[in-house]
Amino acid sequence: MFEIRIHSRGGQGGVTAARLLALAAIHDGKYATAAPFYGAERRGAPIVSFVRIDETPIRVYSQIKKPDMVVVLDASVMDVVDVLQGLKSGGKVLINSQQKKEFAGYAFCNVDLTGIALREKLVVSGSPILNTPVIGALAKMGIVSVDSAKKAIREMFTDERNVKVAEAAYQELIV
C-alpha cells in the first residue's frame, strides 16, 4: 500500500487534489481511497488529506501515521506543521514552491504550482487552483499515469485549462 499525506490550507483544494489522485489511481486499475481529516479547521487553517493506493481493496480507515509520500500545497504551513512527521525514510516529498529545499534522507521535488495556475489565470475566489496542476506533478513522479491523471481531471472539471496546468506541472517538475 502506498500512503500519501497532503498538507494544505482550508479552501486551497487539498481535498479535491486527494480525490483526483484517488480517481486517477482507480483509472490505473488500482484500488484507492481519499479521506480528508475533518477537525475543527476553517478556511485558511492548515489541513491534511489522505490518499491510499493499493493493488487490493483498502480496509484501513484510520489516519496515515507513516506516509510513503508527503505533498505540500502551501509551503507556509511548514512554519506551523511538521510536514515530515512520520514520513518513511527514503519517502517522497513534493512541495509547491519556487525555491528548492533539501531534506536529508528524503526524495525531494519542488514545482511552482501557484505560478503555473496564475499564468493560466486559473483563479477562483482570488485563490490560484492547485489541485489540478499537482496531479500533473504527481504523474511525473510516477504515482499515477499521465493518461489517468488527465482522464480524472476531465471527469471532474469541464475547463480544459485544468488539463493544461497539469501538463505544465508535468513538464516543469524535475525528478
Partner: protein, 371 residues
Amino acid sequence: MKKIATGNKAVAEAVKQVVPAVVAAYPITPQTEIVEQIAEFVTSGELKSRYIAVESEHSAMAACIGASITGVRTFTATSSHGLLYMHEMTNWAAGARLPIVMANVNRSLGPGWNIWAEHTDAMQERDTGWLQVYVSTVQEAYDAIIMAFRIAEHHDVLLPVMVNLDGFLLSHIMQPLDTIEPGDFIPPLSLPYAIDVTNPAGYGGLTGPDQHFKFRWDIERSMRDSVTVIEETEKEFAKRFGRRYGFTENYRCEDAEIIIVSLGTLGKETEVAIDLLRKEGIRAGSMRLRWLRPFPDLSLLKGKQVVVIDRDYSFGRGGILATEIVAQTKEDVFSVIAGLGGQEVTYEDVADFVRKRRVGTEFWFGVNANV
C-alpha cells in the same frame, strides 16, 4: 460504471435509482451532503421526486409518514441529534407499518459538542421497530440503500429500515463505486392499506388494552419474518449484481479461537488487525455485524473467546453490542469501548485489544484501565 464517491454521495446516488415519490429531510453534519445532493438531483430533473425542505427532523419524519401512508415511496436522512429529535415519529413510522427508508450518518451525541462517529445515536432507536443495518464501505452504503427499499416494502415486513454509515469515516471518504440499474429488483410499491386521498376517511382510532398487544406482536412477527426477506433480497442482489452480503461479514473465522465483533468501518480496520495477529500466531477472526435489528443468530461465537468493540455505550450497563451478544450466547466477552466521538482507533490498537484481552471485563480505550 467506474466512479469515485463519498459515502454520502453514494447514498444520494442510490436514492436516485430507486426514485422515492417524496424525500423530506433536514440537513445536519455529517449527513448534509446527502440531502444537498438529492436536492440537486431534484432541481436538475434527474430525480423525479418531491423534495420537502422541512423545518426540523421531527417534521421530516412526520412528512415521510404522511406521504408513505398514501402508498408512495419515501426517504429521509439524518444523524445524531436529528435522529433523536425524530424519536417520537420513528416509533410512529414503525407502528403504522410504513416502509420508510432512512440513512443515518452515525455521529455522537452532545454535550460536549462533537460531530464525529459514534453508534449511540442509532442504538437509542434500537427498540422502535425499525430494521437496522450498518455498512462499512461506500459501495456497501449504496447497495444497502437499494436493498433497504425492497426489504422494507416486502409484504412480510412493512417496517421502516435504517441504513447506518459512520460519520466522516465513511460519509466523507472517497472510494470506488459501481452504480447499477436496479430495474425490477425494486418493484413498484403497493401498500396493502394505503389511504386514498380522494376518498377521505378517519384512521388511527384508539386501540384498547384488548387490542394493542396484537399490533405489537404483529411488529415482532414481521421482524422475525424479515430474516428470510433479508436473506432472499441479499441472495437476489448477489445473483443480479454480483455483490454478496449477509447478516455478518466473517473474516478468517473458520479456525479462529478468538473472534472480534464490531460494527461499521471498524469491522474493516479489524480485518487488518487479524492479519497482523495471525502473523504472530494468534488465531483470531473478525465478525462484522451488519444487521442489528433483526438481531442475527451468532452461534458461530459459541465456545470462542469473544472480543466486542462498542462505539456506543449504555451508562450504568455497558457496551450495547456486548450486552446483546452476551444475552444471546450466554457467554462472557471482553468488552472494549473504543471510538466514541470519533476517537481514533487503528488496526494496531485493535490487535492490542486482542493481545490484552481479559474475558469477563470491560476496557475503555484511552482510559488506561480495565473498569
